[in-house]
């Protein structure tokens, strides 16, 4: 499949706005654990990886923000930042060719559960708020990005949990390859709410893993001229019976697609909340490599689909700031409990050589 040029990147995480804030927190190995919100009595006794200073009105303006749920607001802020950093100006000449692809687990669990709960607790079961109905649907955030920025190209929401961002990039690469879009704003977003906090506590029973949140969006084009960083190869697969073997296969296919060798991988990052399968897969696919691992969940918690997106943003940041050099490749792996697996290989672009790719 086609490789992707990264023309811009926008990040919001428990460490704040920007890839620099995230990289600094990850570099310090710092759990960006926020003070508990006012509603702390609603939260389980697990770490809170929440962007406490997230000011929706300051970042997005007052107009049209009153009904936004948190994941939509996070996605919008990341998309705005990506578009700005990519110096993408949207007008009638290009808006039909600009798409959005967003990864998620279930959209806003809080919006959906609250909506359903209202049918049980209101005086009449139908006394739900019609203005909030779209928030209960998983494509809410992606369509709000399109509405806010006037993006009329394909608009997809990929519900892949921890693998969603890899699948979103596959979907993006296909759309660019087929000419359905010229530019795609792609990534993943998740919110911290009491609902996700309790869900994470139940998923990680007995372990001190807390829910997290964040969003990372990328401005992506067909690989070509003047790109500094690329998604060189993206592969996905499925292996319920042996997920580590399936994921190792994904990694090897990605390396093969990129014409790279296992020893070229110098950094490996996981988008999985529990990276046991990833570790086993790397042991098979990269047997001799003394690559560096990046611990993202210590900083952002179990941010579900956002973990992989934030990992990618952090990997890309290492190239744009010169920490990673030509020939050094970074790898993202991810898996779901069901056996969906995916891998993305990140590396330097061709710079001023428009002929390749």
């Amino acid at each position: 499949m086609t490789s992707l040029s990264i023309a811009g990147c926008g990040v919001v995480s428990p460490a704040g706005l920007g890839a620099d804030a995230l990289a600094a927190a990850v570099g310090r190995g710092e759990p960006a654990v926020a003070a508990s919100p006012a509603s702390e009595d609603l939260l389980p006794a697990t770490p809170v990886h929440r962007y406490a200073g997230f000011d929706v009105k300051a970042l997005l303006g007052r107009k049209g923000t009153i009904f936004l749920d948190r994941v939509t607001a996070l996605a919008l802020v990341a998309a705005d930042a990506a578009i700005e950093s990519g110096e993408l100006s949207v007008d009638d000449s290009n808006r039909d060719g600009i798409g959005v692809v967003l990864g998620t687990t279930v959209g806003s669990l809080k919006s959906t559960m609250d909506y359903s709960a209202d049918t049980l607790t209101q005086d009449r079961p139908y006394l739900v708020n019609p203005a909030l109905f779209p928030n209960s649907v998983m494509n809410c955030a992606a369509s709000q990005i399109a509405i806010r920025r006037g993006l009329k190209g394909m608009n997809a929401t990929i519900a892949g949990g921890p693998v969603a961002v890899v699948q979103a990039l596959r979907y993006t690469a296909n759309a660019l390859r087929r000419g359905y879009a010229d530019v795609v704003i792609a990534g993943a977003a998740e919110e911290f709410t009491p609902n996700t906090a309790w869900a994470a506590a139940l998923r990680h029973q007995g372990r001190a893993v807390g829910a997290g949140e964040g969003a990372a969006m990328f401005v992506l084009r067909r690989a070509g001229d003047h790109d500094r960083v690329r998604m060189l190869a993206i592969s996905t697969g499925f292996g319920a019976d042996d997920p580590a073997a399936a994921l190792a296969g994904c990694v090897l296919r990605a390396l093969d697609d990129a014409g790279a060798a296992p020893a070229d991988v110098t950094v490996a990052a996981s988008g999985s909340p529990d990276d046991t399968v990833d570790t086993a897969a790397l042991a098979v696919a990269l047997p001799r490599s003394d690559f560096e691992r990046v611990d993202m969940t210590a900083t952002v918690g179990d941010a579900q689909a956002a973990i992989g997106a934030l990992q990618l943003a952090n990997l890309v940041f290492a190239y744009t700031t010169g920490r990673m050099r030509a020939g050094e490749l970074s790898l993202l792996t991810a898996c779901t409990p069901e056996g969906d697996v995916g891998a993305v290989l990140v590396g330097e672009g061709d710079g001023a050589d428009p002929g390749r790719g």
């Binding site: 039909d96 920025r149 519900a159 000419g179 998923r203």
Partner: protein, 408 residues
């Protein structure tokens, strides 16, 4: 549509279809019902309707997953079971032995609006009953929407890509489109594409409060149309490279010619006829057909005043005075949400392979605001259909249209 030249494609054909619906489970029953114009609407049984003014939906009350599933075990939500059962039926219809498909060359793409909505609703009930500490781990495990496509891969033993696309009510067309690309570009030899959703309280309440729900009879394109009926089901199509299908001597229902997607980028719920018209043009261009080639349109046709008006205007804009027959299978099924355009795809393919137009039932009075529409009122019609267009629109302005053709 943007610039960029698609490379030479492999041809992609539909070799199997598996509907799990209120008007029939399996292709034979579903096709009979479409031809007979049967309604699948019944009083809601899946939740307590006390206090709701309207109490009808298109449920599949006699869905028994164990009757269809061979491999999938464990604890799965209703939408995943719909998807997996539909996929199994589709593969049986295709007479496809997946063990003979090359490892990793087959996968699944499933569209949905609300994923495991019943599971989320179970959690909401636990929350109301016992607060957050009352939430149980079982439904938390069954909740992620990726499980819809995972269930298909597990049931069929597939090792290729498993992806769940959540573009609301056009999601099956998004899924069919992406699966088509995977096969056309050679990324896969076989893809299972379709959609699934389950009837739930919150959607019933939400559509009612939007003023978009009707009491018990869905009348698309009728002057007296008053809204949708929520519905459920699962649907899957086997999309296969023509060379792969021919090599195994498969019977071919129809060919997938292409698709178009775009976004209104305007309003969370109100449809935009200009944007829908543009989506039709994109679909025609990508499929290499002209508007005049379309013999039948399987409408999005929800039965709300605003959808049907926007859709009719878009059809008029693209097709002019002489638009082809356009009917809504939602008049029979209700609105199956993420599965809806998948059922539309099956209806479109059946129109091509079995030479009939599915009817719009419950049609009484033509709407002067929708002039010149042949909605195939109330009774199926014999017709030769070479090329069919299957419309899907959604909340968030996520339009997606697929085009199917007779095998030449």
């Amino acid at each position: 549509m943007a610039s960029g030249q698609p490379e030479a494609d492999r041809r992609v054909v539909v070799t199997g279809m598996g509907p799990v619906s209120s008007i029939g489970i399996g292709l034979a029953d579903f096709a009979d019902s479409l031809r007979a114009g049967r309604s699948g609407i019944s009083p809601i049984r899946s939740f307590d309707t006390t206090g709701f003014p309207y109490v009808c939906a298109g449920e599949v009350p006699d869905f028994r997953p164990a009757k269809f599933l061979r491999r999938l075990d464990g604890d799965w939500g209703r939408s995943s079971l719909f998807a997996a059962a539909a996929a199994r039926l589709a593969v049986e219809d295709a007479k496809l032995d997946l063990d003979r498909t090359a490892e990793g060359r087959a996968g699944a793409v499933i569209g949905t609006t609300s994923g495991e909505s019943r599971v989320v609703e179970e959690l909401a009930a636990q929350l109301v009953a016992g607060g957050y500490p009352g939430l149980r781990p079982g439904p938390i495990r069954r909740m992620p929407a990726n499980r819809l496509s995972s269930a298909v891969n597990m049931e069929l033993g597939l090792h290729g890509e498993s992806i769940t696309i959540a573009t609301a009510c056009s999601a099956s067309n998004y899924a069919i489109g992406y699966a088509f690309d995977c096969v056309a570009t050679g990324e896969a030899d076989v893809m299972i594409a379709g959609g699934a959703d389950s009837v739930c309280r919150w959607a019933h309440a939400g559509f009612y409060r939007l003023g978009a729900l009707t009491e018990s009879v869905c009348r698309p394109f009728d002057q007296g149309r008053a809204g949708i009926l929520t519905a459920e089901g699962g649907v899957a199509l086997v999309l296969e490279a023509l060379e792969h299908a021919e090599a195994r001597g498969a019977a071919i229902h129809a060919e997938v010619l292409g698709y178009g997607v775009n976004c209104d980028a305007k309003h969370p719920v109100a449809p935009d006829s200009a944007s829908i018209a543009e989506c039709m043009r994109i679909a025609h261009r990508n499929a290499g057909v002209a508007a005049a080639d379309i013999d039948y349109i399987c409408a999005h046709g929800t039965g709300t005043p605003s959808n049907d008006l926007a859709e009719a205007r878009a059809v008029r804009e693209v097709f002019g005075e002489q638009s082809p027959p356009i009917s809504s299978v939602k008049s029979m099924l209700g609105h199956t949400m993420g599965a809806a355009s998948g059922f539309g795809a099956v209806a479109s393919v059946l129109a091509i392979s079995r030479d009939f137009l599915p009817p719009t039932i419950n049609f009484a009075n033509a709407d002067p605001e929708l002039p010149g529409l042949d909605v195939v009122p109330n009774a199926a019609r014999e017709a030769v259909v070479r090329t069919a267009q299957n419309n899907g629109y959604a909340f968030g302005g996520n339009n997606a249209i697929t085009i199917f053709g007779a095998m030449s």
